[in-house]
């Protein structure tokens, strides 16, 4: 067990070194966060002023800004595309298959480490900006713990979903058509573009049966304390159930895909 843990920890170290190898690239992506947040703040200020309402979709202007502040941070760990497609196309899966490691653990770890630095930095910016502008929400320790758990589950769920799209490369030679299509749907249905509570009820009803909102909006609404405690627990439970369902689908597709794998090159 200890040796197995060490094996993946060692991978995490290499992924970290790899991510930080190009420091300018990393710095540029970090600076993007406050710029984006500034633009969103300007836009929603105009919307609230024009509407003349204090509440839109049950959210005050401050809550909307917190919502988008968190969205911009969380999208760093909301995985939209994994490296697996390229690994398959370029035949690099060969080396993955001849090592005593489990591919999905490594792949998940790679995506996590890759996004962790940017996510942590964005979250840091978010709390600094919250302090400067006095953005406060009525929350409690229980909601905060659930918020952190929900973020982890959100990451896992989006990873499994993106990995399913990636391994379709075994059949379609690329995951681009799926990441484009589902990326758009995910952005809208997940609540990245507009807070879900601002959308019509019929849409919310359908959306409840899809996995997308659990990949971004759920942890934010938990943080904003918009769910009663029981509903928050239920939302986290649903995230977990979706991970299990999608992971089973991923395993089935992976095993079928490996039979089709032709290992390009050589």
């Amino acid at each position: 067990m200890k040796r197995t843990f060490k094996k993946y920890l060692s991978h995490a170290r290499c992924y970290f070194n790899e991510t930080t190898a190009y420091k300018i690239q990393l710095l540029a992506s970090l600076l993007w966060y406050p710029i984006m947040l500034g633009l969103f703040a300007m836009l929603w200020n105009i919307v609230y002023t024009l509407r003349g309402d204090n509440l839109i979709g049950g959210l005050t202007l401050t809550e909307t800004l917190i919502y988008f502040g968190l969205v911009r941070a969380l999208i760093y760990i909301r995985i939209g595309k994994t490296k697996t497609s390229r690994v398959i196309i370029r035949g690099r899966l060969d080396y993955e298959l001849i090592r005593p490691t489990y591919y999905f653990i490594k792949s998940c770890l790679r995506e996590f480490v890759k996004s962790l630095v940017q996510f942590a930095a964005a979250l840091f910016f978010f709390f600094i900006i919250s302090l400067i502008f006095g953005w406060k929400v009525q929350t409690n320790i229980f909601s905060l713990i659930l918020f952190l758990i929900s973020i982890m589950l959100m990451f896992l769920l989006s990873y499994v979903f993106a990995e399913i799209m990636s391994i379709l490369t075994f059949w379609f030679k690329s995951d681009n058509p799926f990441t484009w299509l589902f990326g758009g749907i995910l952005r809208f249905c997940g609540g990245e573009l507009v807070p879900l509570s601002m959308l019509p009820l019929w849409f919310a009803t359908i959306n409840n049966y899809l996995p997308f909102k659990y990949m971004i909006a759920t942890p934010i609404y938990i943080y904003l304390n918009k769910y009663p405690i029981l509903e928050s627990l239920q939302q986290v439970g649903l995230q977990f159930i979706w991970i299990i369902i999608l992971f089973l689908i991923l395993s089935i597709i992976w095993n079928k895909g490996l039979k089709r794998y032709d290992s390009q090159g050589g």
Binding site: K6, S10, N17, E18, L93, I98, D262, S263
Partner: protein, 339 residues
């Protein structure tokens, strides 16, 4: 020495390949929505066995099925049918445990991490293969000594030359002291010095550690230097499995005699003798002749040369394996056309 480590029986593999259509614009548009495929059988029932400590050359022209066989043996590809037993494992079904026992190098792909120093990749593989500090340091020192790695250990892989990278690749794939090593074009694109160093290293681990090595390459120099046994594959079928020397004996149709003399003893006899052969090179008293083995007996000719002039140097050479392989491929092509 004779313990069987690999047993491959009736191995078959098919791939779906797109059918080539006309390359005009309309066909390209149609292909976006509908592409025709055909099933191509890459391996037609391969059979062979390998004993512990053997160094085998697995040869064949492009597209013969060499890499496919290697990839099935490493567990990367799953065969359509047939039985494969390597060290008691079924490679694709017992992948996790099996991979502790094998190492592989694919010359055109890298197992090292591109952006980080070589030593970091080695440390990663130390943990991947669950080696302790002592085992790791011993192996690392062995590689540093044999492959002269000390200069490259702290340099990111992207900054290494191909030869330097390949030495590191081989070290990384053998770090865990695997029982069987699969090498797919390990010396591709390397200069003479790098090739020689890698060949020496492979020879050492094969002899000292009794590591079984399966080598696939188009470089016949590698085969001649390293392999005693060769398996020849063509169009997914094994066409030869045996000693390299016997293969040469079977297909070598000519030899070369090079000699130099100081003066002629019997000029008429010498001229008559020389006329019978193809002269490849002649400089003063130096001759290089091609002897057709189907018509002439080499020892007899050597005696006639010695009798007719005062020889100061004489050498008999066989054609390079590359020429032998060319003959074999031509022969296979001929059979294909006939059938």
């Amino acid at each position: 020495m004779d313990k069987r480590v690999i047993s491959v029986k009736n191995l078959k593999k098919k791939f779906k390949v797109p059918i080539k259509t006309k390359s005009n614009f309309i066909h390209k548009i149609i292909e976006i929505f509908y592409k025709k495929y055909e099933t191509k059988e890459i391996l037609h029932g391969i059979n062979f066995e390998v004993n512990r400590g053997e160094f085998i050359g697995y040869l064949g022209p492009n597209g013969a099925g060499k890499s496919t066989t290697i990839k099935i043996m490493t567990g990367i590809l799953i065969p359509d049918s047939g039985k494969i037993d390597i060290l008691g494992f079924n490679p694709s079904k017992q992948r996790y445990k099996y991979t502790f026992n094998i190492g592989a190098v694919f010359g055109h792909k890298s197992l090292l991490w591109y952006d980080i120093p070589v030593i970091e990749s080695f440390k990663l593989y130390k943990d991947v293969y669950e080696l302790n500090e002592k085992e790791f340091n011993e192996r690392l020192n062995f590689f540093i000594d044999k492959l002269k790695l000390d200069k490259y250990l702290h340099i990111p892989v992207r900054k290494l030359s191909l030869g330097e990278r390949m030495r590191c690749e081989i070290a990384a794939s053998l770090l865990h002291n695997p029982k069987i090593v699969f090498l797919d074009e390990p010396t591709i694109g390397l200069d003479v010095v790098a090739k020689e160093e890698i060949r020496n290293f492979l020879r050492t681990i094969n002899k000292k550690e009794k590591t079984t090595i399966i080598l696939t390459t188009h470089d016949m120099g590698d085969i001649e230097e390293l392999c005693k046994r060769v398996i020849l594959i063509d169009e997914g079928k094994i066409v030869y499995d045996g000693d390299l020397d016997k293969l040469k004996a079977k297909y070598v149709k000519s030899k070369e005699i090079k000699f130099e003399f100081t003066k002629l003893k019997k000029k008429q006899e010498f001229d008559k003798l020389i006329k019978q052969f193809e002269i490849i090179e002649k400089t003063g008293n130096y001759y290089k002749l091609k002897i057709d083995l189907t018509k002439f007996d080499v020892p007899k000719i050597v005696k006639q040369i010695m009798d007719s002039c005062e020889v100061i140097d004489l050498n008999i050479t066989e054609p390079k394996l590359e020429a032998v392989m060319r003959e074999i491929y031509k022969h296979q092509d001929k059979i294909r056309k006939q059938t």
